[in-house]
Symmetry: D2
Subunit: 408 residues, 4 copies
């Protein structure tokens, strides 16, 4: 941490508390929109710190630090875990379980590192309270549930987030990733892709496996769809545009000697601009409809599962954040990064009220680990950031970003 933030540096005790908090969150993850224990744990810390807060969007929490006249700034930390069985072998590894919408009991893991987001934000809050004289204004703390399913940001907005909390000048957010711990990475413009997930039910006609002539084979049909979907990216888009059309699941049939009456597959579509997004969605629909006609099959059913907005870093605000992070963390620890095809629902929080947003990534692995090539990415059962300097960097980045607006 450079001079400008010296006063805001973590004390050993604050760091120790951060570690303890992190391990508690890590060991007890919850599925999207079911973050009840997490909600209570966050509320417990806010209560301890004497910060005003309210529930929002079900399992979300909003805290408000009012510290005199000054800018209003928002900071968001997302809070949900994933249905993954943790394989890190850490002392504080999760053994939690959860229940999917369809009733399936599953293991749960903080496999995307949201526990580092919560902890960094809460720890920064503790420092801000300690140094209240050195800044002025209002900080809106947004502990958002359900990021993984793109449900949480909209749930909070729909639940009146911006009626209940003051409207900020800017909203900031961050995410841990497999970069070097101690560094942050920031993108100008579109930082993360739009994502659209679709469920396609391909309808055929059942028959015994020995009688294809009495069937409309949905497996052959859906396979042909998968093949033709490749041409969206390979032939319909400009090579200078970026998009992904992934078929992530494909399920059909119960028995090898029965041609089933349907096949179901799900699509995950990524794009960086609204124009490309519209072009890809139209092409996907055209291909699915057309292939069913090719097979003489009924019209398939295409349903939206969810969508993620683009995560666009506001030009002016991003330059301020660049400056602040470089000052706060050191020039060498801040790099510009091209856009990522991953997605986030963070964008909804600002879009809903026309407020600019800025979002960055902070690293979670030390140099040795990165050099080894054994670098589990987010959503891996082996994803496990080193605690330090990851948490200190995450906390400092929160502070640097906020103070760019509210610092004296």
């Amino acid at each position: 941490m450079t001079d400008t933030l010296t006063a805001f540096a973590l004390s050993d005790e604050e760091r120790a508390r951060a570690h303890e908090l992190y391990k508690a969150f890590h060991a007890d993850p919850e599925l999207s929109m079911q973050e009840h224990r997490t909600q209570e744990r966050i509320e417990g810390v806010l209560d301890e710190l004497g910060i005003e807060h309210f529930r929002c969007g079900g399992t979300g929490v909003v805290g408000l630090i009012r510290n005199g006249e000054g800018p209003v700034v928002g900071f968001r930390a997302d809070t949900d875990g994933l249905p993954i069985e943790e394989a890190t072998g850490l002392d504080y590894a999760s053994t939690a379980r959860g229940t999917l919408e369809d009733g399936t009991d599953v293991p749960v893991m903080h496999g995307c590192g949201h526990d580092t987001h919560i902890t960094s934000l809460l720890t920064a809050v503790r420092v801000l309270l300690r140094e209240k004289d050195r800044w002025a204004g209002t900080v809106v703390l947004i502990f958002q549930p359900g990021e993984e399913t793109s449900a949480g940001a909209r749930a909070m907005v729909d639940d009146g987030l911006w009626d209940k909390a003051p409207r900020p000048e800017v909203i900031l957010g961050q995410h841990v990733w497999p970069g070097q711990a101690g560094t942050v990475s920031l993108t100008r413009g579109t930082a993360m892709a739009m994502a659209d997930s679709l469920r396609v039910t391909v309808r055929g006609k059942q028959s015994h496996g020995s009688q294809p002539q009495n069937s409309i084979d949905p497996i052959v049909l859906a396979s042909a769809m998968v093949q033709r979907l490749q041409t969206v990216v390979s032939r319909e888009l400009s090579p200078l545009d970026s998009a992904v059309v992934t078929v992530g699941t494909f399920h059909a049939g119960l028995k090898e000697n029965i041609i089933p009456d349907k096949a179901e597959f799900t699509l995950n579509i990524r794009s960086l601009t609204p124009e490309v997004r519209a072009q890809v969605l139209a092409a996907v629909q055209r291909i699915i409809t057309g292939e069913a006609q090719v097979a003489g099959a009924p019209e398939p059913v295409v349903e939206k599962i969810y969508d993620f907005p683009a995560n666009v870093n506001d030009d002016a605000a991003t330059e301020r954040v660049f400056t602040a992070l470089r000052a706060g963390l050191g020039e060498a620890n801040v790099e510009e990064m091209p856009p990522k095809m991953g997605s986030e629902d963070f964008g909804w929080l600002g879009e809903a009220i026309g407020v600019p947003t800025v979002y960055w990534f902070f690293g979670g692995y030390d140099a040795e680990r990165l050099a080894s090539g054994d670098v589990p990415v987010n959503h891996s059962p082996y994803f496990g950031p080193v605690i330090e300097p990851t948490l200190t960097t995450g906390t400092n980045a929160v502070l640097a970003g906020l103070l760019e607006w509210i610092g004296k």
Copy 2:
């Protein structure tokens, strides 16, 4: 029934008992190789009739009617039900449940009509006992489990069937089908196809859905395999040969935004000659191996699930059966039929000891139903033969076939 079988005609009481027995079997089906209650029910009838019997192949039963010097003839009835939820709405519809190998609890139904086979054979036995003076020889009654999974015939042979029972001159068998009740249909030569079922595990490389470049996409790969498998029948076989390559199941992926690390599909392959069978199996293996190389993927794993032998009607014995059925059921009620692509494990019973076999089909629907176009086939949840004349015809066909060898 024509004159030649007049003495063997069912009495009203025998017919009533047949109906009662049929409904009992129909209401209480069991899964393949788990036919315990069915086994006991068959043994109960044999005991009541005073017929010597022994268990064989787990849930199979072999009965022996020894009636003086004369030919030895075998007759086989298969006994297992299917994991289907009955939807016939019949009074005696099944509500039974069973447990699949993987522990899943499923509804069970006599959806293939094996209950008519058991009932016809047991009823014919009752008549044969009544008319013992009119025939001489030995009848081997083979109540075979596990036909649907191709496990039962082999299990009985492996359990010493032909060490324990006398070796017959011929083995006969029959199956109910959606033809007109009152008629039987018989094929010269190969009556039913060989079947081979395979499980293919396509191995790829997992990645996040937004990062196809870090994956080897097993869904795209397995879809390409499904497409290329079509060329086995369309391009590699003579149009004058017959074969089917059905992909009956295709399962891959858990989440739409994760490219999974594998896909699994199952194949059901039908052929009428050993040459075509060998050609198809080799082509399938070549395509699966080659497509994985195309994708730069690991070698897929191809495992055999089961195979069914061809069901070949012996030339000479088939002519005798034609004669016998025409005499017994009336010329107009016996038709020659081309081969079926369906499969049966009946063939193993004769192949194991080099004894000829003959197999025919008897109808299960009345003319009105057939004319209506609403004709549920075997394995449909709506499959429900009319009780009469189906059971009387099934019984008479057993008698006509057996008496061709043992009649005086």
Copy 3:
């Protein structure tokens, strides 16, 4: 030749003339519907023999042998060659050339053996004239052009064949094939497949090779059509039915870095029954139309190139021919054969007036050649039947067939 045909046996001189005639036809083949020299050569022989004749269907010739009261029977020999460069190395190999419809100059060869058909028929005529006392009736000699393009039989019918010639009781025909010379092979029922040839023009949108986004790529589209067309045979037909869908040509593009605006391919479709034919043609059209919709491309243009009728052997007449050939050539030299997927326009001659037809094959290779495995088939540049016993057998088969109706 057996006793029944002893009087009709070829003399050494007749056989020598047959050989001379055969070599003349072989050395001078002509393309379909351009058989002018062939027409004149046939007319020359008929004139020499004093047989009444007239031209029909352009380059066709009809001869009439009227020999008193008696049945009228037709016999057809087709007369055209193929655009193939002969590679047999025979003394009498063709060096002829012809001009295709599009103006291309091409080599021409009797690569399908029609020269053996003409020679056998003319030689049989010579024998029939020698033995006029031993038969009575009228023989209609049909020297048909343009069999290869399915143009000739229709051209003759359209040109009033059956207005000008007496209507026969039956029409017979034959073809040389790579069976054993000295034998004939005959099929009950459908002997040869229906054939339909189609030209498909796939329309896309041109663009530079670096800008797929501005194209509708007709090569990717037509390739997808080729792939999906495989499913007609593999999934839409009963495995017990027979059909072929061959894409014989595929042409698109002039330069590797220009995405062309169209692709053209041609289809050859074979089927044995009108029902299967209709099903395949409908499926092909559905797939081609549908795939263009999948690609957002204009409707492709599907044009008929030609069609061939089924070649169906009449039941009753076939039994008579079987009897006659067995008597004439010896039981061991006549075999029953399953249908062939090849095609013929012979069927139109009978269909046009509702007269039954029978068609058989006679062998062209000796046993050593067949055993060697080096057996060039019809349409090969190496196709070269041995002169004897091929021509004697072809002649005797004509005689045996005709005399079954007109012999005394």
Copy 4:
């Protein structure tokens, strides 16, 4: 033209001569590496202007303007036309014809606008000579043949270009495109893609169309390759990378009822980095080899047709060119542009001696034409830039670029 270039502004007479020269080149285009008349016409102008020159690389010309001590700078204009039939309807439209390598006679057109390049460079030379006092140094004029086939730059280098001409500090080049006349567009870093063209001969096994079982169908096989090649871009590359895999031609078969023994297709591959290029080329080879194995076919033959280097704008030199063009043409008339997927062999000229290169585009259509949407691109038979301000802008851009190095 802004003040800094005022002295170098074209006079009316110079402009009139430019127009005359342009029309002469436009009306008389020649195919790649056959630019004999073009070569002589260029030499005629250089002779008229008294400029030293020599032939190089066959039909290339190198001119040298030596004007005292100072920097050496190269400027390249490419000179070849295309086998396109001009459809512009211009007075000075081409009616020239040429002969392709395979002997085909074809129309020829300056469909890529190289005539504007030659004219702009020659016109700039005329101005430079008029204003010799205002600059010092040496200009190497490179009139390069065979750009369209990637043959010319290498031919000149191989013919000793840099042994015969002094080594420049920088080499500049430019291309007309469908942008607004009066403007230039410049890319930082990689400006144009690498291109690799391959010819693939897919080998199968011939058979009659009715006998697929005796064939290895090369059309089905090559179509499968085309389908699978789509996955290189759609699944194997990062969505943030750019590449194109175009199959520009596909030719197989002569007759619809013969399955041919081979299919031939050509590929055009574009990429922006050596890493992506290597990845795509390896994937293409893997897919082609693997698909042949899938089909049990012989190894296909893959031959290189040609390759184009990347066209990379040197960082430092590009900044100088930006400055110079903005000063010379006005700030508003110079824009930065993302890379293009099109290709150029310009890069070889600098790579051969490790000299930086800079390349830009100048517009050829007026605003009304652009607004109309009717904007024929390079290689269209309708491609026809407006003469002005296209030629004046092209000339000024040459002058601005050169003077950045040699101006006083």
